[in-house]
């Protein structure tokens, strides 16, 4: 880097006075930008402001876009029906860049600059975990749609809730009875060698054991891997079911190479839809998945027995019968997760109404009112299905779908019961001070 003629002198051009003045003017402009304006307190007739922490950029962008669409549809539906406590709801959106440090700043920005009533949104676990301390310090309720077990683990704080989507521990546990009864008793797991994979690694074996089945091998694949062929010989020959949860762009290669490895004689395959959210199931290379099964939070494809609430939800969000954006069949939604945004906003509405919420001074009341919730009935507000809510661990429990890939579509073949996903609470947030 250092050269003999001058360190860092990438160009001999020097700063002109005019350039410097322009720079200083721009700097002053930045300092006076709207960000510095003090915002006044919301009045009682002013809209309820919900800070939406969105993955607009970064690895979670596909989710972020659909989370925004779903949330905007829910807010419109809530406003059309009179809002919350007679007040309109307004979403204030900030990009967290799918980055935990930026996520924490965004929470601070909502609390201190935008003065939103609550913070809502976001999927990726590391962003939720990174942002949780900021929510606790600002004492601002933070409703996440992340499906991670981190909220229910009670390792975060009293201001973090996950009332609109079940957590991964519960999801895995409720898959076990079906796998053991229908797919096979000898299961080999293939998962990415990081936290998302570890949830599956840790929670599946005990759940299967309780059903008389066993995990006979666990194959962790490093996150840097781009080819998987060398791992397949580690799959024991007696394997009856391959349980796979690969995520990210590598999933297409993974499936293709698995297909090449097995040919037409393969064990049963069971996966989590997280692998293929926003990915067309008919993409080249995914043919091998035909006949295999997947967990789905909410079904991507319209089902013959869809409830009226489910149909209305899909229409409001703007997804067609194939789970793609209306008018753009290539824009595949993140249907398994995004329903959680819709349902969470209705939980917020219910809790705010129960608390008689008027403004930020009632945030503690809102926390207690949310903790007091017990059940959410299936219907327009909860189109995915009925749920129960455990106020001690701030986590909801609900039904899960198991779908079969058939003719290039996903057909729901089994719905689990809420009880299948219940587990002993690991702590109690309500003992923490508000």
């Amino acid at each position: 880097m250092a050269d003999k003629n001058g360190f860092f002198d990438l160009s001999k051009k020097s700063l002109s006075r005019r350039t410097a003045l322009k720079g200083m003017a721009a700097g002053a402009g930045l300092a006076l930008a709207p960000g510095f304006v003090r915002y006044s307190q919301a009045q009682s007739s002013a809209p309820i402001k919900i800070g939406f922490q969105s993955h607009r950029t970064g690895i979670g962008a596909a989710y972020g876009r659909w989370y925004e669409k779903t949330s905007a549809a829910a807010v419109k539906a809530i406003n059309d029906a009179g809002g919350i406590n007679g007040r309109k709801v307004e979403l204030v959106i900030e990009d967290d860049g799918t980055d935990p440090a930026r996520g924490a700043e965004v929470v601070n920005k909502f609390a201190k600059q935008h003065k939103t009533d609550i913070v809502f949104g976001t999927l990726f676990s590391h962003v939720v975990i990174g942002s949780a301390p900021a929510a606790g310090e600002n004492k601002i309720p933070y409703f996440v749609v992340s499906e991670g077990h981190h909220v229910a683990s009670t390792k975060l704080n009293r201001y973090v809730f996950q009332p609109g989507i079940t957590d991964v521990k519960s999801q895995i546990q409720s898959m076990a009875p079906w796998i053991a009864a229908n797919a096979g008793k000898k299961v080999t797991q293939i998962f990415p060698d990081f936290a998302f994979g570890y949830d599956h690694r840790d929670y599946l074996p005990p759940a299967l054991k309780a059903q008389g089945a066993n995990v006979i091998a666990q194959i962790a694949i490093p996150p840097t891997e781009s080819s998987f062929t060398k791992y397949f010989p580690q799959i024991p020959a007696e394997t009856e079911v391959i349980y796979h949860v690969m995520v990210g762009p590598a999933v297409l290669t993974f499936v293709k190479e698995l297909g090449e490895f097995y040919g037409s004689q393969r064990p049963q395959l069971f996966g989590f839809m997280d692998s293929l959210e926003a990915v067309d199931i008919n993409s080249p290379g995914l043919e091998f998945l035909d006949g295999s099964h997947f967990w789905e939070g909410s079904p991507r494809y319209a089902q013959p027995d869809d409830s009226a609430a489910q149909k209305a939800y899909r229409a409001a969000v703007g997804i067609d019968d194939n789970g793609a954006a209306v008018g753009d069949p290539k824009d595949i939604s993140t249907a398994s997760h995004m329903f959680g945004c819709w349902e969470t906003l209705y939980v917020v509405k219910k809790a705010m109404e129960d608390a008689g919420y008027k403004g930020p001074e009632d945030r503690a009341k809102l926390v207690e009112a949310t903790e007091a919730l017990k059940e959410f009935a299936e219907g327009p507000e909860h189109p995915q299905g009925p749920k129960t809510f455990n106020g001690k661990i701030h986590q909801c429990f609900g039904i899960q779908n198991i779908s079969k890939v058939e003719g290039g579509k996903l057909k729901v073949v089994h719905k689990t019961k809420i009880e299948d996903g219940l587990y002993e609470p690991e702590g109690d947030y309500t003992t923490q001070a508000l």
């Binding site: 860092f8 160009s11 051009k13 350039t19 510095f36 440090a101 060698d193």
Partner: protein
């Protein structure tokens, strides 16, 4: 660099510190918090600048020193229940020891090879964090609970989650590191570092032990970056592998280039500039990184020595 009286130089730095102190009382709440984060990260940039700016060693692996501090402090609080001062010290020691080991190996190379070697070590460090996920929380990271982030001094408890305490904590660290950096670059040792940057062979020929000097610089730089990481964990309560990724090795380089390499105040200015450009532009467009990129290109084209570097070149030749 023209010589200036020590009084003038130190006065300037004291004024900057005083200004930052005063800002605590006038900044709106959100910006008070943002400034605390910027000051903590400016320490990271200052540590990086010591090696890059003054010694001319371009490392692409400084995220490992920052995260050594982050995890050194975070894990001792999380798993061992250590108090804040002990954990902070543990963070610095972790960074210094890591820098010693990395320095001994990486300093056998120079130039592009040094960049690659440091980047590879940082990648190893990052993957180790993921590998030991049972302790580190892997890619999800860990939360340091509010109750663990308080310092008891003579019966008074300082809660680091209080915005003012946090701001003052970050300012204290920033001020100490700024003055240490200033003292180093004004010292005989600092001159040797600059001499190494300008012409290592000649410095060697003049009788200086350049290898030892560079090693000391790597350790000091690593310890400062670790102090920043440790402070980050304790002030903001989150420890995650994201901070060990390549992105956090590139960021201090950008901050320093923007603010002005080999200037004591450049790292602060660069960090401040990048943070505010990101913060303000992200309110208008999701393509804010494009704007950041354009800003960087413009800077390289029109102010290749960074903001403070250009100011020194044009007007204030005595700036350290």
């Amino acid at each position: 660099m023209r010589d200036a009286s020590p009084a003038k130089t130190y006065a300037l730095h004291i004024v900057v510190i005083a200004l930052l102190f005063a800002l605590n009382f006038v900044l709106p709440d959100y910006h008070q918090g943002l400034f605390a984060r910027i000051m903590a990260l400016a320490v990271f940039a200052m540590g990086y600048n010591l090696l890059f700016g003054y010694v001319g060693l371009l490392s692409l692996g400084h995220a490992m020193f920052f995260s050594a501090g982050l995890y050194g402090a975070g894990l001792t609080v999380y798993h061992l229940g250590w108090g804040v001062p002990e954990a902070f010290l543990a963070g610095i020691v972790s960074g210094a020891l890591l820098a010693l080991a990395i320095g001994l190996l990486a300093l056998r190379t120079s130039g592009v090879a040094f960049m690659i070697v440091t980047m590879m070590f940082a990648q190893v460090f990052y993957l180790l964090i993921l590998y030991f996920a049972a302790w580190t929380g892997g890619d999800q990271g860990l939360v340091i609970q509010q109750a663990s982030r308080a310092i008891a001094i003579g019966g008074v408890s300082l809660d680091l989650t209080n915005p003012t305490v946090r701001y003052m904590g970050a300012l204290a660290l920033f001020s100490v590191v700024l003055l240490i950096t200033l003292a180093i670059v004004r010292s005989r040792f600092g001159r040797v570092l600059v001499a190494i940057r300008e012409n290592e062979e000649r410095t060697k020929m003049l009788g200086y032990d350049t290898v030892t000097s560079k090693l000391i610089a790597v350790i000091t730089s690593g310890a400062i970056c670790a102090a920043s990481g440790a402070a980050y964990a304790l002030l903001f309560g989150y420890v995650g592998s994201n901070f060990a990724s390549i992105q956090y090795s590139i960021l201090p380089l950008l901050w320093v280039l923007l603010g002005g390499a080999a200037t004591t105040l450049g790292p602060l200015i660069g960090t401040l500039f990048m943070y505010y450009v990101t913060d303000i532009t992200s309110g208008f467009t999701s393509a804010y990184l494009l704007i950041v990129g354009v800003a960087l290109i413009l800077l390289v084209l029109f102010a290749p020595k960074g903001i403070m570097g250009s100011i020194r070149e044009r007007w204030l030749g005595w700036l350290p």
